[in-house]
């Protein structure tokens, strides 16, 4: 599903963001990507979306060889996966329905398909009743759910969430995480980059910890911090 082989990334200004990363995700997995700001987890997400190119190594996503892909192919890679960001990235002058439908319009989907898929995606995130509202009329959690519906409307095999709860209060964060987990149960592979410690610890999923551009831990049913190091766990 996702594979990184000996991937390194050095930015033009000399910053080494990732160093010799090897990572493999299988279909249907749920993975937390954790680490402090500047650890390289955002860079890793950018490599998966081909927003940045790896300096060394190979990246495979959804069967695409991301490393050798041309500019023209990038949109098709991005259509094959859903992405959710910390700042939601909704179009302010489009309604909830239009925002979700837009992800299908750009793929030149049939209007019939759009009319079928969009309400389904909205129902999945529980926003059917707010379809005609504009983003500014919604709470942060609701906006993120719209973003989720948009990410899912094309039925991607992989969902990437970059700090999806970064702008949300703890309770709303939980709702979003539950939704992500539910999406995962339906068969979608999910990658969540976060530093929401309490959620990571409670969900008991695979945890990949990055620090200073290196994977320091890859653990099934892991916690935010490695308990062997005796760091206090605060709830």
């Amino acid at each position: 599903m996702v594979e990184l082989r000996n991937v390194s990334k050095t930015y033009a200004n000399g910053t080494v963001a990732l160093r010799d990363i090897n990572l493999r995700l299988d279909k249907g997995e749920f993975v937390f990507l954790v680490g402090p700001s500047g650890s390289g987890k955002s860079t890793l997400v950018k490599l998966l979306l081909k927003e940045e190119d790896a300096t060394e190594g190979e990246v495979y996503v959804n069967g695409y060889d991301v490393t050798s892909m041309t500019r023209q192919e990038i949109p098709y890679l991005r259509r094959s996966l859903g992405v959710v960001f910390q700042d939601f990235r909704l179009l302010p002058n489009k309604t909830v329905y239009e925002n979700v439908a837009f992800a299908m319009i750009i793929t030149e989907a049939l209007p019939k398909e759009i009319r079928r898929q969009v309400p389904m995606a909205l129902a999945l995130v529980g926003l059917s009743r707010k379809a005609n509202m504009y983003p500014h009329q919604l709470s942060g959690g609701e906006q993120q759910r719209v973003a989720l519906a948009r990410a899912l409307v094309n039925n991607p095999a992989l969902l990437i969430a970059d700090e999806p709860t970064g702008n949300l209060d703890p309770e709303t964060s939980w709702e979003i995480m539950k939704l992500l987990s539910e999406i995962n149960h339906r068969g979608t592979t999910v990658i969540v980059a976060t530093h929401e410690k309490s959620i990571v610890d409670a969900m008991k999923k695979r945890v990949v910890a990055i620090s200073k551009g290196v994977i320091v831990r890859d653990q099934e049913k892991g916690l935010y911090r490695d308990e062997d190091k005796n760091t206090p766990v605060l709830y």
Binding site: Q72, R78, R79, V83, F85, I106, P111
Partner: protein, 299 residues
């Protein structure tokens, strides 16, 4: 490209140009100005060609005999003209014919000729040359012939007009190029503003997998909308303007009587003007969009 996608592009193009009303208006005006200048040039040069064509078909030379000479002398002149190998053909205009032509020219004022006989007019010969380049020597030779009073020579006028229209075209071409380039850049600037206004939207579109061209097309449409609007306005203004000029011209007594100049009717030029405007508008609009995209829309 699918029809519904095309519809989306056109809709977005209209939304873009509407959001950016003031700049769109400024761009439309510059397009209108450039196209009107272009239109004036086209109309003038079409009319110049039209008139040059008429003059070229008209007698290149007309040799007038002395009014007093008798038929025998006239025949002698005719023999000389007939024998000249540089002359392609000639036509004798008798005194009666000359009177008749003058009556026609004067039209309703012909009454002033009443009481005069044909004998007040001289016999003349309308002469067509085998080649225009002979004209000045033929004129010289004919003027020496006894019985010929003067030779009128329309070649000078033709040459003058040809030359004038040449310089006029050159001047206009320079101006048109300047204005068209200005139009391209002003449209480019308008679209730049739209691109900046929609930066965030564009980046979101990229994240959800929109292709480069899917993002670009609405901006191309915006450029073309601006220039087509300009073209339509310019066409209306220049068509009405030209019609007004033609109307005034036909009412002018001097031109009406002398047949020295004639103007093409609006019916015979509008379709050509419309095609030129449409082609230029599409090219300028699309060029403006592309300039803008190359510079500001690195999708």
């Amino acid at each position: 490209m699918k029809i519904r996608t095309l519809r989306y592009f056109i809709k977005e193009g209209f939304i873009n140009s509407y959001r950016n009303k003031l700049m769109s208006l400024a761009s439309v005006l510059i397009v209108v100005t450039s196209l009107i200048i272009f239109g004036v040039f086209v109309l003038i040069s079409l009319n110049a060609q039209h008139n040059i064509g008429i003059w070229k078909e008209q007698p290149q030379l007309q040799a007038f005999c002395y009014q007093e000479i008798d038929d025998i002398q006239v025949r002698r002149v005719e023999e000389i003209i007939k024998a000249d190998e540089r002359i392609l053909s000639y036509e004798k205009v008798t005194r009666e014919q000359a009177l008749e032509r003058m009556r026609e020219r004067l039209g309703k004022d012909a009454a002033i000729l009443d009481g005069y006989g044909a004998d007040i007019f001289p016999v003349s010969f309308i002469i067509r040359l085998k080649d225009v380049s002979y004209s000045s020597e033929v004129v010289k030779d004919l003027e020496k012939v006894t019985g010929i009073e003067k030779v009128s020579y329309s070649q000078d006028t033709v040459e003058l007009i040809t030359r004038m229209s040449h310089w006029f075209s050159l001047g206009c071409s320079v101006m048109i190029i300047v204005f068209l380039v200005a139009s391209v850049f002003i449209i480019a600037n308008t679209i730049k503003l739209t691109v900046f206004a929609r930066r965030r939207e564009i980046s979101i579109m990229k994240y959800i997998g929109a292709t480069d061209w899917f993002i670009r097309w609405p901006f191309v449409v915006e450029g073309v909308i601006i220039s087509i609007t300009g073209a339509i306005l310019a066409f209306i203004v220049s068509a009405y303007g030209y019609k007004a000029v033609v109307d005034k011209f036909t009412q002018d007594a001097f031109f009406a009587q002398t047949n020295l100049l004639s103007m093409l009717s609006i019916e015979s030029v509008w379709s050509r003007l419309a095609v030129y405007y449409a082609v230029i508008a599409v090219v300028v609009g699309a060029a403006g969009s592309f300039v803008s995209m190359r510079r500001y829309l690195k999708v």
